[in-house]
């Protein structure tokens, strides 16, 4: 027996009389960890890493949907309100829609007419709220958003027709003429390029036409969006509520596939981490077969031995899981920041799973070697065979 172990044995003997018998169990647990610091630390390290990776993966898996949904909202509207049979929407449709969406999305009205340029060309003129359009249709490449009254945003293809020299121009609709200055151009690659956009106030004052379409980019799961659509139908009976299927279906597919891939990756990573813990811990317990043999030789019952190693494993599992959880939340938050430019919200609902998983793995890795060792005579182990 080397010096350190001898000292500790003496210390144990000295303390034995003073301290109540029950603390022997705790003492053995602590001593085992302190005396074999290196191996205990490596077992704890494996546990912490495994718990951290598991926490991070579960957190990401839960959160990735919300993160990607936000990306998909950049595709613009997923719900469109139109007046039934081509009629205009009631004037309060936008405020109504806004109250239904309640901050979880963007609502933008559009009014459209076909006007004539001063040389008689037909052109589509749209009225909208530039502030909202800017949030809704982020892909619009706009050189300069109009700010003042009677300023227009001109599509890149419409520009040579209405204002080839970037000069002020007139548009007329049903005998009424409006004088506009081009503030900037809009380029989208689709029908917007052939249009002229005005602020809604200017548009209504000029043409007297109310918005016929309200585009809504609602955030949330597909069930939440379906609920928003039902509430919209109730709130604005004069409007027809249409989902933008193209966006919704594409989003559902991509989200589903990404989540499935992430789930497969998470399963692989968690399995590997668990096996890593299992092999490290089993090594650690196996390595202490002498402790085991001494305890047994001194008359410890099987139940006590099982309890001892199980308690040790449970303590290790719990500590590792808690430290790993904090670390994993950190990793998930970092990935969120780096990849999505938004923090991943810590999901404390993940903690019970991580804790339970760690316990199962550590207990398993303690019980398996013990079950093997129990069949061996202590004398054989102590002789080092």
């Amino acid at each position: 027996m080397n010096g350190k172990a001898f000292d500790s044995a003496q210390a144990v003997a000295a303390n034995r009389e003073k301290v109540p018998h029950t603390s022997m169990f705790v003492r053995m647990l602590l001593r085992a960890a302190v005396l074999r610091r290196g191996r205990a630390a490596s077992a704890l390290f494996a546990m912490v890493v495994a718990a951290a990776v598991t926490t991070a993966m579960l957190n990401l898996y839960v959160d990735v949907q919300a993160k990607l949904r936000r990306e998909f909202r950049n595709y613009g509207a997923n719900i469109i309100l139109v007046g039934r049979d081509g009629a205009s929407l009631p004037p309060n449709a936008v405020t109504q829609a806004e109250s239904v969406v309640a901050g979880r999305g963007v609502v933008a009205p559009f009014a459209l007419v076909v006007a004539r340029t001063s040389d008689g060309q037909a052109i589509v003129v749209a009225g909208s709220d530039f502030e909202r359009v800017r949030q809704l249709d982020r892909w619009w490449s706009v050189s300069n958003w109009p700010g003042g009254p009677d300023q227009a945003l001109v599509g890149v293809r419409a520009l040579p027709v209405v204002s080839p020299k970037n000069q002020a121009f007139d548009l007329s609709f049903q005998g009424r003429t409006i004088h506009l200055t081009p503030a900037g151009t809009v380029h989208t690659g689709s029908s917007e390029d052939s249009r002229v956009y005005l602020s809604l106030a200017d548009f209504i004052a000029w043409s007297g036409v109310q918005p016929s379409t309200v585009e809504i980019a609602a955030t949330g799961s597909s069930e939440e969006i379906a609920a928003v659509m039902r509430r919209l139908e109730q709130a604005i009976p004069a409007a027809e509520v249409r989902p933008v299927r193209q966006i919704m279906e594409g989003e559902a597919r991509v989200l589903g596939k990404t989540r499935a891939t992430l789930l497969a990756a998470a399963a692989l990573i968690i399995l590997t981490a668990a096996l890593c813990v299992l092999s490290t811990l089993m090594g650690w317990v196996f390595d202490r077969r002498r402790d085991f043999a001494i305890m047994k030789a001194l008359g410890a019952s099987d139940r006590l031995l099982n309890g001892f190693f199980a308690a040790e494993a449970a303590a290790l599992g719990a500590t590792g899981a808690l430290v790993g959880f904090v670390l994993g939340i950190g990793i998930a938050a970092w990935i969120g920041r780096v990849n999505f430019h938004a923090p991943v919200v810590p999901r404390f609902s993940v903690l019970p799973f991580v804790l339970a998983g760690s316990m199962v793995v550590t207990l398993l890795s303690a019980i398996l070697p013990i079950a093997l060792l129990r069949r061996v005579q202590p004398a054989v182990i102590l002789r080092g065979e």
Binding site: M1, A46, V49, A50, V53, A56, M57, L68, E71, F72, N74, Y75, G76, V82, L112, V114, A122, I123, W139, W140, S141, R157, A158, T188, G189, S190, S191, S194, T213, V244, R245, Q246, I247, E249, G250, R253, V254, K257, T258, A260, T261, A264, A265, A266, L268, I269, L271, T272, A273, L275, C276, S279, T280, G283, D287, I331, I335, V338, F340, G384
Partner: protein, 421 residues
């Protein structure tokens, strides 16, 4: 002697070697599968994103303004310029033809539907459904069935060479028609093969083979615009530059990267008198989504590599730690530190090579399985990755063993043989 030592060690300690080998195999399997998934995920998600619709549009160069509200075209039908249908197969002749998954020409015309003595003006959209097209020796089929997967048809899709049409669901409800009925459009008898539901403006339209629309317009071969669905690379600073301002090598790099801009540029080159550009709503956002998902899977792959490296290290450390007595014996018989370490490293290398080989095959199979069950398509692992994976496996095994080996060779043989530390 050295060879015998290593050989006997494998022969006599089968259980331990199997355990360590299994850990390495598992680690390599996970690493290989994740690398395969990560390298392929961009392409897979790109294909999924194509379900959002075409990302490029080809229009005639000298076109007049579109005058269109809610899908109703208010421009005189023969106004403006057209593309020539005969030029379309050239789309598949561009440099990036493999990235072009499908294209669909569009020719909207105004037609009159007669029904029960009443007549109504509707938009008739001429297009390809799934038309077989040949370019050179290559044959492929293209049309709205591929470019717009969210179009749902109850009934049957029309044949491209027939006089069958799809009727938008709102128009069908208004006219009281169903699949199988016949319909009189601008004096022609057409058969309704199915009812189309898109959630968009097509619900109010008649969708017909393009030849029918050309016949109504009396302009054979005319195409108003072509929607092209292409697999593209997310835009970066180079993509946004004007190709005219680029010098030779930079221009080549731009031209040979599948940016939306460079594919559009090549489409405009291939089709005479055409202008091509990206549909920003689709093209811009798919770049963003793709970058995010690729980034996510890349980081997750790093985590997987880290976890498998750790598992391999842990297994190796445990395996070596268990053999202290052996080390003590070797040293007591006069073996130097170097001799002992080289035995262990040789064993580690053998294990790593074997585990790497089995793991690579298993990882490839796992990736294949993931690809099949999630994406319904193959994920194949590039054979060039094999040596890379093997080298990584050897390095990780060495790194994992190094600390344990150093500790083992540093032991006092007396203590080691007595089983004490």
């Amino acid at each position: 002697m050295f060879v015998r030592l290593v050989y006997e060690s494998f022969r006599r300690q089968k259980r331990r070697k199997l355990l360590a080998g299994a850990a390495i195999t598992l680690g390599v399997t996970v690493a290989t599968a994740m690398i395969a998934v990560a390298t392929d995920i961009g392409d897979k998600i790109n294909r999924e994103l194509r379900t959002i619709g075409a990302n490029l549009v080809v229009t005639p160069q000298e076109d007049t303004l579109d005058v269109e509200i809610g899908g109703v075209n208010l421009k005189p039908p023969s106004d403006g310029a057209f593309l020539n249908e005969a030029d379309l197969p050239k789309i598949k002749g561009t440099f990036w033809h493999n990235n072009i998954t499908a294209f669909a020409p569009m020719l909207p015309v105004t037609a009159t539907v007669q029904r029960d003595g009443k007549s109504e003006d509707v938009t008739l959209l001429g297009t390809y459904f799934a038309k077989p097209v040949a370019f050179g020796k290559e044959e492929f089929s293209t049309g709205v069935k591929t470019t717009y997967p969210w179009w749902k048809v109850s009934g049957a899709w029309p044949e491209d060479s027939s006089r069958q049409v799809l009727l938008g669901e709102r128009l069908a409800a208004r006219l009281g028609l169903k699949a199988g009925d016949s319909l009189s459009v601008s004096g022609r008898q057409l058969e309704v093969s199915g009812i189309l539901s898109t959630g968009g403006v097509e619900d109010d339209e008649v969708v017909a083979p393009i030849a029918v629309a050309q016949e109504i317009l009396r302009k054979p071969g005319a195409v108003r615009r072509v929607y092209v669905s292409a697999l593209t690379k997310p835009e970066d600073a180079l993509a946004r530059r004007d190709p005219k301002s680029m010098s030779g090598p930079i221009y080549d790099r731009w031209y040979c990267s599948p940016y939306p801009q460079s594919i559009a540029f090549q489409l405009a080159e291939a089709i005479p008198h055409a202008h091509a550009e990206q549909i920003r709503q689709v093209a811009q956002n798919e770049g963003a989504v793709l970058t995010r998902i690729e980034g996510l899977i890349f980081l997750v792959t790093l985590a997987a590599l880290f976890a498998s490296a750790l598992a391999v290290s842990a297994a190796m450390a445990t395996a070596i730690f268990e053999r202290r007595a052996e080390v003590g014996l070797m040293k007591a018989l006069g073996a130097g530190k170097l001799a002992v370490a080289s035995v262990f490293f040789a064993e580690a290398t053998l294990l790593a090579l074997f585990g790497g080989l089995v793991g690579f095959v298993a990882g490839g199979m796992l990736a294949h399985q993931i690809g099949r069950s999630i994406f319904d398509s193959q994920i194949t692992i590039a054979p060039v990755l094999f040596p890379v994976i093997l080298v990584i496996a050897v390095i990780v095994t060495f790194a994992g063993s190094a600390a344990a080996i150093r500790k083992a060779v540093g032991l006092d043989p007396v203590f080691a043989l007595r089983g004490e530390l």
